[in-house]
Symmetry: C2
Subunit: 425 residues, 2 copies
Amino acid sequence: MSFSALNLDELTAQRDRALRDYEALVQRGLSLDLTRGKPSGRQLDLASALLALPGGHTAADGTDCRNYGGLQGLPEIREMFGGLLQVPAGQLIAAGNSSLSLMHDSIVHALLGRVPGAERRWVEEPRIAFLCPVPGYDRHFALCERFGIELIAVPMTAEGPDMDVVERLVLEDPQVKGIWCVPKYSNPSGVSYSDETVRRLAAMPAAAPDFRIFWDNAYAVHHLTDTPVEIADLLALCAESGNPDRAFVFGSTSKITFSGGGVAFFGSSPANVAWLLGHMAKGTIGPDKINQLRHVEFLRDEDGVLEHMRRHRELIRPKFDAVDLILTKELGGTGLASWSNPAGGYFIGLDVLEGCARQVVSRAAEAGIALTPAGATHPYGDDPRDSTIRIAPTYPELDEVELAIAGLAVCVRLVGTEKLLEQAR
Amino acid sequence: MSFSALNLDELTAQRDRALRDYEALVQRGLSLDLTRGKPSGRQLDLASALLALPGGHTAADGTDCRNYGGLQGLPEIREMFGGLLQVPAGQLIAAGNSSLSLMHDSIVHALLGRVPGAERRWVEEPRIAFLCPVPGYDRHFALCERFGIELIAVPMTAEGPDMDVVERLVLEDPQVKGIWCVPKYSNPSGVSYSDETVRRLAAMPAAAPDFRIFWDNAYAVHHLTDTPVEIADLLALCAESGNPDRAFVFGSTSKITFSGGGVAFFGSSPANVAWLLGHMAKGTIGPDKINQLRHVEFLRDEDGVLEHMRRHRELIRPKFDAVDLILTKELGGTGLASWSNPAGGYFIGLDVLEGCARQVVSRAAEAGIALTPAGATHPYGDDPRDSTIRIAPTYPELDEVELAIAGLAVCVRLVGTEKLLEQAR
C-alpha cells in the first residue's frame, strides 16, 4: 500500500519502525561502498591470462610492437572492436588506457585547433555549451566544467534524451557545440536509446556547424540478459543525413579486461579521425602497441569478446538481481521509491521522493554505506528535484551488496516517512 | 691537409674523385635509415622478460593494479626513478607510455588553466615564446608550433645553451614563458649542461612570473662511457634560488625497456605537481599501473636500471665508435666537417661547411641513405647556417651503420669540394 495513502497515525507508526530499524543498522557499524562503477576482483580475474601475455611482439603486418610508432593503433585490435563499436576499423583509433582521456583530448583539440566545420577554435568563442541528458555521468560534467563549458540539463525519457528539447536547443543556440550521450545501458538509468532517438540526433538541424555528439558507448557489450540491446548506427546515420562529421564515438576495454590497463578507442568520420590524428601526432609517437597485442592474443576476435562478457554477466547479474529483489521486498508498493532494472551496464538508478536524495545518502553514510553523492548525476552537482541516487553494485561481493541495499532501503523508508509526515502536518 | 688550403687543380681533383665515389655509391642501390633515435631489435630483446610480466597484480601498498585509480602512479616505480631523475618520489608522477605526451599536456594545461604563478592562462596572452637551444629536438619545436608558440633560437655552447643570451631574453621579455632543455647527452649534439649552466638557469631573474624550464631528461641513464655524466640537480637549485616552481622535469623508460610500451614521468615542485594532478584528474581515472608493476618487477631497483643500461651500451657503443672511426678516416683533417663524440645519448651531431647540409642530406637520399631532414634541429626547420646534420646510429645493425656512414662521408666530400670550388672561382 502506498505510504502516501496512510493516515497520520499509520505514517507515524511506519516512521517509528523505520527509525528503530535505522538505529539497529547504525549499531551494526557497516563499512560498505556502492559509489563507483568498478569491476570486482573476481571480474578482473577473468582476464588473468593477460598478465603473462603477449607471447610474441610482432603485429600481423610485421610491426615490432615494442618500438615507437603506429599512431592509429594496431589494425587487428581496431578490426576486433570496429564492429562492436559500429565504426569501420579504418576510422577507429586504438589509443591508451582511458576513453575519458580521448574525450578530454577531443575537447582540448577543439578548443585549441579548429575542428572540421568550425568557423573558429572553441577557445575563441564567447561561450560554449554542452547538453547533458540527466541523470548522467559526473565525469562528463566535470570535464566540461574544467574548461568553462556551460552545462545544460536535458531530461531523459525511456528512449534516451527528450529529443524535442534537444532539437530545439541545438537549432536555436549556435553556442551549443556538443551533447553527452551514453547510448546503451546508460549511466545511471540503464536506458538505451531507441532507433528513433538516434535517427533524430543524426538528422536534426544544428545552428553550430561544428556541433558534436560525444557518444560514450562505454557499455556496448555489457549485457545482463539473453537479448542484447542493439542500438542504431549513429556514425552511418550521421553520414546518411548529411552530417558526416557530427559523431565522436568512444569506447574501451576498461570494463572488459582491466580497468586500469585496457585499451581505449575513438571512432568518427574520416575527416575527424584525420583531424585528431594530426593533433595527436604532435603529442605522442604512438600508443602502447604491446598492450594492444596482448589484448588481441587474449580476446582473439569479436566472438571472443562476447564470450568473455558472458562470464562477466555470470558474476554481476546476481548482484543486480539482489538489488531488485531487496528493493522490491523492502520498498515495493510503498511509493517511496522507484528504480531501474537495467538490461546491461553498471548502474541502477534509484528515484526517491522529491527532496529526499541528499538526506538518504547522508543517512546511509552515517550507517557506513557509501553512495555516490546525491546530485552527482546532474550538472554542477545539482539535482533540482533532489531525488536521484546512483547505485553501483558490481564492486562489492554479493553478500555486501545485499547488506548495503537492505540498509539503503531502511534509509529510504526513514527519510521518506519523515518527508510524508512533514507534508501531512 | 685542410681542403680549404688546396689550390684549384688539387681541389678539382678531389671533387672529381668524390664524384666518382658518389656515382659508385649510387650504383650500389643502398637502402639505409639513420633518421630516428629508435632502439634496435636487439636492444628491445634485452627487455623480453617484460612480455611475460607481471607475475602478480598487487602493488606494495595492496592496490589491485588491474583496477581504476592511483592517479600519481605506483609509489614503487616513483621510488625507483626518483633518484635517477633527481626528483623526490613524492613529487614525481608516473604516467602513460610517452613523456612527449606529458610535455604536450603541461603546455595544454598552462594554456587552458593558470599554471602556479601565472597572472592569466597562456591562451589569454597576446603572445607566448619559448627559447630553443639549437641544435635541438624537432618534436619539441613542433609541439610549440602546433599551439602558435613562437620559437626563439639560442645557440648551444659546450656547456649548454649560451646563458648570456638566455638570461637577457628571459629578463627582457615577459612573453618568454619557457625554454626547452635536454640537459644530458643532448639531442643531437651530445652536450651535457655544466653545473654553472644549471645554476644560472635556476637562479636567473625572469620577467614572466610563470616562466618554466622544460627539462627533458630523456637520456638520464643512457651512458656510453665508464664515467657517467652527472648533471646538477635543477629542481633543488630552483628551490634554493627562490624559484621553486620553475622546473618541469620529464623522463621515461622509452629507451630503457620498450619505446612503445614504457612508463613516462613528470617531476616538479609540490605546487606544480598538485596543479598537474588536478587537471589530469579530469581527464583520466589513472595510468596503466599494470605496466608500471611490470617495470618494477623487471628492473627491480635503481641498480637494476643501471645494470640494464650497461647492456644497452654494449650494443650501441660499437655503432657510435664506428661512426667516429669512419668519419675520422674519410673526413679527418679535411676541414669539410666536424662531429660530436658523445659520452651518452642517441645522437651524433655532424657539422658540414656552411650552406651544405641540405645538399648533403639530399645527395645521401639519392644514394639510398635516409637522414633526418637538414634544418629539423632548428625552429621552423630553418638552420640559418645550413650546416647541422643529425646522425642516429642506434636502430640499424652495425654493418648497416658502417655502410651508411661511409656513404654519408662521400656525400660530405662531394658537396664540400663543390662548395669550395664555387668559392674559389
